[in-house]
């Protein structure tokens, strides 16, 4: 059962081969057994999950189930979930039981999914290794001495270790795609504005976007069908007609299913900076795409190497303001001892936030402060425009841009923790996508030294269905995505 994809689970539930309660219990047992070792979950609440499973079983019995009815889904602990502890990986929210549901949580509930638990993450989604979580690092199921990636590392570890059939994540600079690559999963960041940000604790509002983390593109499509949709409570949510993101997937198999597809290969993705063993796997996957009928063309993203610099101005600037609400007055952590109001603020925030979060708040505060705004913030926004223009130009020549997701396979726990800049550079291939607001997907493309590597596909705005199809065709012709880490089968 744990190897079933979401469609197979749906069939099994509909055919009464298993009930939602049984399926939920199965996963809860696996979590009880493996989570102490992986630390993928921050909160599990069997009573609450099983109550939802029972309700789902009733819906299934009456034949009114939706596409996800009765299927347990894990959610990154960045989504506010009514009645659940919602920590965002921080001590600051260590006592925050959310009084309301995020849009994503509500949409899964409406689809009948069971909330299986809240997954570990880098504190306020700031990190690429899951080591900044106040609740301890997550271990990579492929090698417990390695990181799972971040910030959605808990979701990635949970899904690949079969502690959840699928999970949600959020991606501000690669936080879905990079852990997907490091854990052998398929993870998608949709076009900015496709999934509502309401109730998703903000890191960098103009970059944050929620998306699915699953074991296949087909599963991602089903999850995205539930997650995507207009929400009047989010001013940046786009009011577009609903789409079926799995509509391309059921096209019959063909000899050359991707004939006519133009894959753009940006020189900036294939230069120095990427581990050779990862590059070799990426090259092999591109060869497979040619075999499937795609044609490759050389493109260029000349300003891409500025993306990390621009990102580390824009994201901290927005974060410094977004995180000002955590002041120890209305909810969250308040220092035990303080002398006056400013002391209450200063101590609550100094004690409630971890080192990386504080670092980014300081950077963000600095780049917005008097005398520096133009040189940093405005310059970063102009470079953001140049990067978006580069992509627009590239998409005049190709349908999909392909390259590595991460410059390396999973690195060792602690390896980069002391060097923020090295950590930031692990997102070198993913960040530009967030700056432009484009959709992108990472999918497994093989193993190097026993650790998985990811292939990144980037599409033009609103081409999620196409990207999922392109990923799906590769997965029909390969089995990397089906590999399960030893000890979790």
């Amino acid at each position: 059962m744990i190897e079933h994809d979401l469609r197979a689970l749906r069939r099994a539930l509909a055919a009464k081969e298993i009930s939602s309660v049984e399926l939920t219990e199965l996963y809860l047992q696996r979590i009880a057994r493996h989570n102490p070792q992986l630390n993928a979950y921050i909160s599990v609440d069997p009573e609450s999950s099983l109550a939802q499973a029972r309700a789902a079983d009733q819906r299934l019995a009456s034949g009114e189930g939706g596409p996800l009815t009765g299927i347990p889904i894990a959610h990154k602990d960045i989504f506010c979930s009514r009645g659940w502890l919602t920590t965002c990986g921080s001590k600051m929210l260590g006592n925050f039981v959310s009084p309301y549901d995020a849009a994503v949580i509500a949409r899964f509930a409406a689809a009948g999914a069971v909330l299986l638990g809240k997954t570990n993450m880098d504190e306020f989604a700031m990190g690429s290794s899951n080591e900044t979580s106040f609740y301890g690092p997550v271990k990579n199921p492929w090698d417990a001495s390695c990181v799972p990636g971040g910030s959605s590392g808990g979701s990635a570890a949970a899904v690949v270790a079969r502690l959840a059939p699928a999970a949600t994540g959020t991606d501000t600079g690669g936080s879905i795609r990079q852990p997907a690559a490091l854990c052998n999963l398929t993870g998608m960041k949709p076009t900015y504005g496709v999934v509502s940000r309401y109730g998703m604790i903000a890191f960098a509002s103009s970059l944050d976007q929620a998306g699915p983390l699953a074991r296949s593109a087909a599963d991602c499509a089903l999850l995205l069908n539930t997650m995507a949709g207009f929400d009047e409570r989010d001013s940046t949510s786009l009011d577009r007609p609903p789409e079926d993101y799995s509509r391309e997937l059921d096209r019959g198999a063909a000899d050359r299913p991707l004939a006519g597809l133009k894959i753009g290969l940006p020189e900036q993705f294939f230069g120095e900076g990427c581990a050779p063993e990862v590059m070799q796997l990426v090259d092999t996957a591109i060869g497979e795409y040619r075999r499937l009928g795609a044609e490759t063309v050389a493109v260029s993203l000349p300003n891409m190497d500025l993306s990390v610099a621009a990102y580390y101005v824009i994201a901290p600037a927005e974060a410094s303001s977004n995180l000002a609400r955590f002041d120890g007055v209305r909810y969250g952590y308040r220092a035990a001892q303080y002398e006056d109001l400013n002391d209450l603020y200063g101590k609550s925030r100094a004690q409630g936030f971890g080192a990386e979060v504080k670092r980014r708040i300081l950077i963000g505060t600095y780049v917005l402060s008097h005398g520096y705004y133009d040189a940093y913030y405005l310059q970063a926004q102009r470079i953001r425009r140049l990067i978006a223009n580069d992509f627009a130009e590239a998409f005049r020549q190709c349908d999909v841009i392909v390259g590595p997701t991460s410059p390396s396979t999973a690195f060792k726990l602690g390896e980069k923790a002391a060097d923020p800049v090295q950590m930031y550079l692990s997102d070198i291939y993913t960040i530009a996508v967030n700056l432009a607001g484009l959709p992108a997907i990472s999918l497994p493309c093989g193993f190097a030294g026993g650790l998985p590597a990811g292939l990144q596909l980037i599409g033009d705005y609103f081409t999620e269905a196409r990207l999922l199809d392109v990923a799906h065709r590769y997965q029909q012709a390969s089995s990397w995505h089906l590999q399960c880490p030893a000890g979790f089968a």
Binding site: P99, E232, N303, R349, Q379
Partner: protein, 98 residues
């Protein structure tokens, strides 16, 4: 450019994050490494480039002027159940002097 511990303390005060002199001194190194990375931007001539604040180039959607929530004591109490300090329906903080 490079930051001084004094600048770090000023920024930390603006951000209301208490920081000791020792922390300020030890943070300076990391921050300056990051700023070295950021400084790469300064070499680029961006004259005439429109700053990009949002991923989508669209206008703002507006909400009708309609009260959508009743404003109930029960909801207030639910919100305040997770607050550090309240009384009589108010959030409490140390006395603010104007």
């Amino acid at each position: 450019m490079s930051l001084t511990p004094e600048q770090v303390r000023r920024v930390a005060h603006l951000a209301r994050i208490e920081i000791s002199d020792a922390e300020a001194a030890s943070t300076v190194g990391h921050l300056n490494d990051i700023f070295t990375l950021i400084e790469k931007m300064q070499a680029v001539d961006t004259r005439g480039v429109e700053p990009m604040a949002h991923a989508q180039d669209v206008g703002q959607r507006l909400r009708a002027d309609r009260v959508s929530e009743a404003g109930e004591v029960a909801q207030r109490d639910a919100f305040q159940a997770i607050a550090p300090e309240t009384a009589a329906g108010l959030y409490l903080v140390p006395k603010v002097i104007e």
